[in-house]
Symmetry: C2
Subunit: 169 residues, 2 copies
């Protein structure tokens, strides 16, 4: 084997069915399946290198986190982290940055029509996948699944990065 292009191998399923570790892997697997599908479909439509965090960032911006500091708070990252995300969104043309006339320190961020279009397409793919799951599980089954997950996660915050076994702090 060369050094590169690792083959995708399923190291997931059946760590030990019925174990907690297996349950964790199932959850991650389902999440990844959703996200990976969105990514690849949007890539086909010309939106390269999108990340989930881009979508969430734009959602937060739309919801009022229209400057780097506020976005940092909402996304639970440092200001620098948020600034870098904004930088890439600017590069891609998904947001624009303009001086806040009311506060010379602030630079307001605004999602562009292109950004909204990406969000719309991403959401549409996810919704389609959800409907697909709904057909597979039955709509009652899907509702139950979501209800159960909601009960489990409560209203705990979720950090989007750091998928790993560890949270950084």
């Amino acid at each position: 084997m060369s050094n590169h292009s690792p083959t995708l191998v399923r190291m997931t399923a059946r760590v030990a069915p019925g174990s907690g570790a297996d349950l964790a892997l199932l959850l991650l697997g389902c999440y990844r399946r959703l996200i990976d599908t969105v990514i690849s479909e949007l890539e086909e439509r010309g939106h390269e290198d999108l990340r989930a965090s881009h979508h969430y960032a734009m959602t937060a911006i739309d919801a009022g986190a229209d400057n780097a500091s506020e976005l940092a708070r909402r996304m639970a990252v440092t200001k620098q982290g948020a600034a870098r995300t904004i930088e890439t969104l600017l590069d891609r043309g998904y947001v624009v940055r303009e001086q806040d006339p009311a506060d010379a320190r602030r630079k307001k961020i605004r999602v562009t029509p292109l950004g909204h279009e990406v969000m719309r397409q991403g959401a549409a793919v996810l919704d389609r996948l959800r409907r697909q799951w709904g057909r597979q599980l039955g709509s009652a089954g899907l509702a139950r699944l979501e209800h159960q997950l909601t009960a489990l996660v409560g209203d705990a915050p979720v950090r989007l990065e750091a998928p790993g076994w560890v949270a950084h702090d």
Copy 2:
């Protein structure tokens, strides 16, 4: 706000209940809840800086991926990636590396008793959390949840890294 120590904010729940995006966040949230609990509990017991990937790597090693190249294949990363993981596992004393007598190129990796202890403790925490969820959902509910997730994820491979909206390739 200073530049550091971002506050944890819930940007998850209620992206839009009933949407695909919300479902994705629920899945991630549940996964993260499991993993974060394991991390912090193991940290309390003196196992610092553990990652899920460490656990999975040790599992793979135990299952026969006892050299860097093979581990790389199983974990779907490059040899260098696997080598680095092994390096940290060596540092922590979770594995040892010894020359393979049968093949001068190979260096065999073996999980130490300490490594097994960490795996055992991690699995125990996950199992406990799963039982807790079982009490919350009822055992039929938990079984159904797992059954549904299994149906959804199928036997697709899961890459452990890259939690984001994008897979790296």
